[in-house]
Every structure is written in structure tokens, then in C-alpha cells.
């Protein structure tokens, strides 16, 4: 297959043969990924394997292409426009995941809040947090400790406050990999839930616990907070509440009313994951199971 150069296209793809053509439906938006390398294509299929495959057409803006160019570089293009350039194709995978992630969350019609989300037993637990605060590392630590995976990026809630899984590939920093004993691939290491021995949780679950995690405290402690404390936290970390602020407030206050809210101070992600499992998981004193 050849890419036909369009008059409006910002990049001349020349005679590059795109041998992988995958389409995924992510948070209600269709994406098309085209790659000129079979092995890399297989990796992308694996990374996005938890999302629905589709035959629907994707908008040009949601068509992502990764290819080697005659000058020896590898380029990631979105709608034919360059996103980034690297020497090795595998170095573009984090940017590919990041590009799709940003777009999927922004375009979602459902309320999306910056958070890691995991499940164990009858508990579905969210860690709302800004970037760089250990959210993904804690999520990965939980997956290594027997939790199932919902997302390392966004708590996505439908109009009834039910959790919609968004199991994007986890992007671990070198520090995260070293801390968790995971082989490092580069500046960012992409892993799936299966890579960490975990499964992806099914949709339609109700959130049971909101854990406001604070990394960097030597004394590990999980203490209850007033439910209302979750309201400014969740709204403040929402990606797309501006689309319908009143609806976002209703969903957030409804969810906060129904969930338990905790503060977790910790220094060791793996220790914190075990604390969450022991205190909120099956058989724990705080377990929701009867």
C-alpha cells in the first residue's frame, strides 16, 4: 500500500510502504495506526490489544503513521504532519502512545480525570494525581501485587458514575523500572498489564475508593478523609470537565458521595500496593465484601 500525497498534507511520504494498518476504538474515538515495520506493528497491536479493534474510518487527525525515511530517520506523523523524529523506530513508540492518549482523553465525551485506577476483589480504587507524582509507578506496583488494571492515566466516568476502563499501555520511567525491578527499554518503557502479570478489569464497575496518594513520606499511612475532600481534587484534575461543567460537578459529587476517600502517605510504591491490598482488598478489615 502506498500513501498518496495530498495537497494539504504537510509531509511527502514518497514511496514508503506501510505494511501494518491497524484501527482501534479508544474512549469512543477511532484511531488508525500505519507502520512500515512488521515487528513494530506487532508491538503496537500488543500495546493496544485491550482496546476494541474496528473497521471504521478514522479522521485524518486520528491517523498516526510511523515510518523510516530515506534520510535514515524514523518519523511519527499525525495527519501527515510530523510529531517527532528519532534515529530508531522503537524510540517513537512512547510518542505514539502519548499522542493517541492525549487525543483520546481530550476527545472523550465521558468525564476523564487524571488518575491511576486498579481493582481487586469488590474494590475499584482510583489514585487521582498530577503528572510526575508517582501515579503510574503505584499503579504498576499494584498490578505486580495482584490488582487488575483499569488505567494508569484516567479515571473515566460515564453519566451514571460507572468506571469505563481505559487500559492504555503504562509508560514507566527509568526510575519506575528500577524501583519495580522491570527491565528498562529507554527513557520510557512501555508495558501492558499482561507484561506485569495482571489482567484488565471489565467495565461497568462502580468506584469504591479514592486514594489521595502522597509520595515521599517515610512513614506509610492510609487514613480516611471526609468524602467531600475528593470533590476539589477530582474536579481540579479533570481533563475535559469544561465540555459540560455542571455535568462534571454532578458526576464528581455523586461519585464522592458513594466512595470512601483516603489519604495514603508512602515512600515505597511496592509497600504501598501491599498496604492497599491488605487494607482494601478481599478479606481486609475495610473490604467491601460481605
Amino acid at each position: 500500500m502506498k500513501i498518496q500525497q495530498r495537497a494539504s498534507c504537510g509531509y511527502d511520504m514518497g514511496d514508503i510502504q506501510m505494511i501494518v494498518d491497524e484501527r482501534f476504538r479508544i474512549l469512543g474515538t477511532d484511531y488508525r495506526v500505519r507502520i512500515d515495520d512488521q515487528e513494530l506493528g506487532a508491538r503496537v497491536r500488543d500495546l493496544f490489544g485491550s482496546f476494541e479493534r474496528t473497521t471504521r474510518a478514522a479522521r485524518a487527525a486520528n491517523t498516526i503513521q510511523l515510518a523510516a525515511f530515506p534520510d535514515g530517520t524514523h518519523r511519527l506523523l499525525r495527519d501527515c504532519y510530523r510529531v517527532t523524529v528519532q534515529g530508531a523506530a522503537t524510540q517513537l513508540l512512547p510518542a505514539l502512545v502519548s499522542t493517541i492518549n492525549r487525543s483520546a482523553v481530550e476527545e472523550s465525551e465521558e468525564l476523564a480525570i487524571h488518575a491511576g485506577v486498579v481493582a481487586i476483589g469488590d474494590s475499584t480504587i482510583a489514585f487521582p494525581s498530577v503528572s510526575g507524582n508517582g501515579k503510574t509507578t503505584l499503579t504498576a506496583a499494584c498490578l505486580l501485587s495482584g490488582f487488575s488494571y483499569i488505567s494508569d492515566e484516567a479515571l473515566v466516568l460515564d453519566g451514571n458514575g460507572s468506571v469505563i476502563p481505559y487500559p492504555k499501555p503504562l509508560a514507566l520511567t527509568k526510575w519506575s523500572c528500577d524501583t519495580l525491578g522491570i527491565a528498562v527499554e529507554g527513557e520510557e518503557t512501555l508495558v501492558t498489564a499482561a507484561d506485569l502479570g495482571a489482567v484488565v478489569a471489565q467495565g461497568g464497575t462502580e468506584l469504591t475508593d479514592i486514594v489521595v496518594a502522597d509520595f515521599g513520606h517515610p512513614a506509610e499511612e492510609l487514613v480516611p478523609l471526609p468524602k467531600s475532600d475528593a470533590v476539589p481534587v477530582l474536579l481540579g484534575l479533570a481533563f475535559n470537565h469544561f465540555k459540560d461543567p455542571g455535568r462534571a460537578f454532578r458526576i464528581v459529587t455523586d461519585v464522592a458521595s458513594k466512595t470512601r476517600v483516603w489519604s495514603l502517605s508512602y515512600a515505597d510504591p511496592q509497600g504501598a500496593a501491599l498496604t492497599l491490598r491488605d487494607q482494601l482488598g478481599p478479606g481486609a478489615a475495610n473490604s467491601l465484601a460481605v
Binding site: P226, S228, A230, P245, F249, T253, A256
Partner: protein
Amino acid sequence: MGGRSQRVGPPAPNVVETEVDGDVCLYDPSSERVAVLNGTASDVWRLADGTYTIAEITDLLASSYGTQPTSIAPDVEAVVTEFVEAGFLAQE
């Protein structure tokens, strides 16, 4: 602020209000301000409907709390000022 004789409220038209586990939460979609009110602030908010002045709200709450108006007056004034500055109360 217009002083203790000025009526307080009503709430600004855009402000959304709900209770979460007994705590009043306010949200102004236009400014994206959100506030969770403590006990006294909740009581002031419930009286801030444009009917009462700060002095009257102070007297009503002091009577309800079984204390002297002078002991809560600074807190009531501070809360009303915060409501106004946050845009939660309509301005004349």
C-alpha cells in the same frame, strides 16, 4: 463588602450547590472555583439568600450555637467576604 447592614446574597446564578456526606460543596462553572464548606460556612451559606444582613445572620447563628454574637461575628464576616470574592454570591 457593603457593611453589616447590607443583605447577604442571593447565590450567584451560575453557582451549583450539592451536599456530599453532609458537607456543602459549591461550584462556579464559569470560574471553575470549587469550595467545600465547613460547618459554620455551611450555616452562613444556607442563610445567604438575600433575606438577611450580616448582623442578622450573626445573631441567628449565635442564638443557634448558644454563644454571644461578638464571638462569631469576625468568622461570619470573613466567610461572607470569601463568598463574595469567590463569586459565589450575587453582587448588587
